[in-house]
């Protein structure tokens, strides 16, 4: 009797444990989580076009059309973005979407997803802050904390996008007295937020469609605007400050595209009836976030770390998926791996170090050739999923980089600095 009970007492827990372990083994290995998250803040005055850029950017990237990745967001956020986009695109209505109030400050979390062989995988997350532009330019009222919170977000950002209102440039180019004042206001808003930033900074010119008639050649047009901006010593200094080791870009974007709106007789931007929107370049500012961040991280590494990094990248190319995972874990514990993670600096590195490191290493690697079918068959399910995820992630990163390179090729004037 005693022996039977003892056997039962040992057997039951072992069976419970065994069944649980068995279930765990059978459950698909979730290789795509946790996805590293990156914080993006677009810095721009009220009315500079931040909200419309966000809505148009989401609209352009919400389906994998023109790129292998797409964005998803929470249902409520999607509803907001769609509402803004619809209001903006409705040529029959003269109204533009309302400006963002301070109480509407909101973090939009976009999951960047792509299709792998068998499923949809989340590669990374971009958290994009939407806020009232006057927080950058106006005094904080007694009892308010919104401005402090915004600056805390700016300080912890992984990428900053300086928004320059194309309408202000239009006024400036036309010799309107408000033009120089507004451009100066723009710079006054950007400089304190950007001057101490350690993350990559790019600049976008919104409402690019309002500048179409400056010159028929878009690159010449952009070069004209670039020269106007660079002629301001403060802007030039800002660009120089952020040019060490990477390119600072000037990206012309239009949330509505050419021919949809014009400047009316009262100086207001009005829609042209019966026109359709054709957003231009709105996908590029977000697509540039990761390539620029990775470029900056690499530029911060010393020669010894770079050598170790490149050796690890080469090793991973020839490893099978599980070997690559083990190697990644080992590399993360080495001096070089820790140095790479430290170079990211932000919360992303602390929370998802290995995942971020793997992404960084894969982004540095040459495109992996497809595995021979026979070899792929030798992988177990988990290995196959890891392999597919890594390849999909690498494809996403390459396409992001590709968009930026295509812009540089099409519009060489978009390089504000050489990145040396």
């Amino acid at each position: 009797m005693t022996v039977s009970l003892l056997a039962l007492g040992v057997a039951v827990p072992l069976v419970v444990l065994g069944r649980w372990l068995h279930r765990r083994r059978r459950r698909p290995l979730d290789v795509s989580t946790p996805a590293p998250a990156f914080q993006v803040v677009a810095l721009g005055q009220q009315g500079s076009g931040k909200t419309l850029l966000l809505a148009s950017m989401y609209h352009a990237l919400r389906v994998p059309s023109g790129q292998c990745y797409f964005l998803t967001a929470a249902h409520d956020d999607v509803a907001r973005l769609n509402r803004w986009f619809t209001q903006m695109a409705d040529a029959a209505s003269p109204d533009w979407p309302h400006g963002t109030a301070k109480g509407e400050t909101r973090l939009f979390s976009f999951d960047v997803k792509t299709r792998t062989a068998g499923s949809i995988a989340t590669v990374l997350r971009l958290n994009y802050l939407e806020y009232a532009g006057e927080l950058l330019t106006e005094l904080q009222e007694p009892g308010s904390t919104a401005k402090d919170e915004l600056y805390a977000r700016i300080e912890s950002a992984d990428a900053l996008i300086g928004v320059i209102d194309g309408y202000s440039i239009r006024l400036y180019v036309d010799g309107h007295p408000d033009g120089i004042v507004r451009l100066q206001e723009t710079l006054s808003a950007l400089i304190p937020a950007v001057i101490e930033a350690s993350c990559p900074v790019n600049f976008v010119i919104t409402k690019w469609d309002l500048l179409t008639d400056l010159h028929p050649d878009e690159n010449v047009r952009l070069d004209m605007v670039r020269n106007h901006l660079i002629s301001n010593p403060q802007f030039q200094a800002l660009v120089n400050l952020h040019s060490t080791g990477r390119v600072v870009r000037l990206i012309p974007v239009s949330a509505v595209g050419p021919g949809f709106a014009r400047i009316g007789p009262d100086g207001e931007v009005v829609k042209i009836p019966q026109r359709e929107i054709r957003p231009a370049n709105v996908d590029i500012p977000l697509s540039a976030v990761l390539p620029d961040l990775f470029e900056q991280v690499e530029a911060r590494l010393n020669q010894e770390t770079l050598t170790a990094l490149r050796a690890e990248v080469r090793r991973r190319t020839f490893m099978d998926p599980l070997q690559a995972l083990a190697s990644l874990a080992a590399f993360a514990g080495q001096t070089a791996g820790r140095a790479v993670l430290a170079s990211f600096g932000g919360s992303a590195a602390a929370l998802v170090g290995d995942s971020l490191l793997g992404m960084f290493l894969d982004a540095r690697a040459e495109p992996a050739p497809d595995r021979p079918t026979g070899l792929a068959h030798e992988f177990g399910d988990a290995e196959r999923r890891i392999d597919q995820f890594r390849r999909a992630r690498q494809r996403v990163l390459q396409e992001m980089q590709g968009k930026v390179l295509a812009l540089e090729s099409r519009l060489p004037a978009s390089r504000l600095s050489g990145g040396v």
Partner: protein, 256 residues
Amino acid sequence: MTGSHAWPFLVARGRERGYRTLLAPDFLLAARDHGVLDDSVVPDAASDRPSVAEIVTMAGQALTVVHATHTVTAADVAEPGAKPRAPRDRHGRPLRLIYGFVCVDRPAGEPDPADLAFCRTAALDAYRRFLADEDGFEVTPGRAFTPRTVLGPRTGRTRHGGATGGGTATRDDAERPRPFPTPVGMLIVAAILLAVSIAAVGWIASRGPEPATPCPTATSSARATSARSAGASTGPSPQPRRPPCPTAPPSGRHAG
């Protein structure tokens, strides 16, 4: 300042200047705590529909804000003799007022439309003065009035600026990993089950001699009975009933 009073307020954007508090309860203005209104109230897509938000000022005072959104019309801001024209900001966007009243107590039911109408009049008055001189405008103190809305006592507490629908949304909570089951958790459960099982076995084993094989003889059985009854009772003790020995072959039959 009493719980039965209310104070009008206005948060709005001008043609040039961004959103800011233009009309604020006089006690908040005096305490330099009125910026909480600007941080908290959120415009509504529907016009003049009341919403209720609970806020706590930087000084720690809990307040209720009843607010509505009004899109400014040409008639709202028309200057005498001027051609009415829908007002826009310099970027061509409609202008909106977020107006309403602040109270210490909480509305017991739906806010009375008459209170909102009263506050809208006060808000428009302040707004017209603001549009006339956006840069030079000073926040107008809102005087207390007795609302028709029935107010009830406050319960609970909200965070600073914790207005309905406002705040920053993140997914952190949704993403927290499930605390259980984890490998360590499962091992702990298995260990506890094992320990409980062993303890149970030990307890059963320590309850006394079981009629183990071979089956006790009549002599030993009588001795055990005698030992149990000694000292316990001097009287006659009935022979305890024992289950039949499972190993003893039933009389008159052969085991299997």
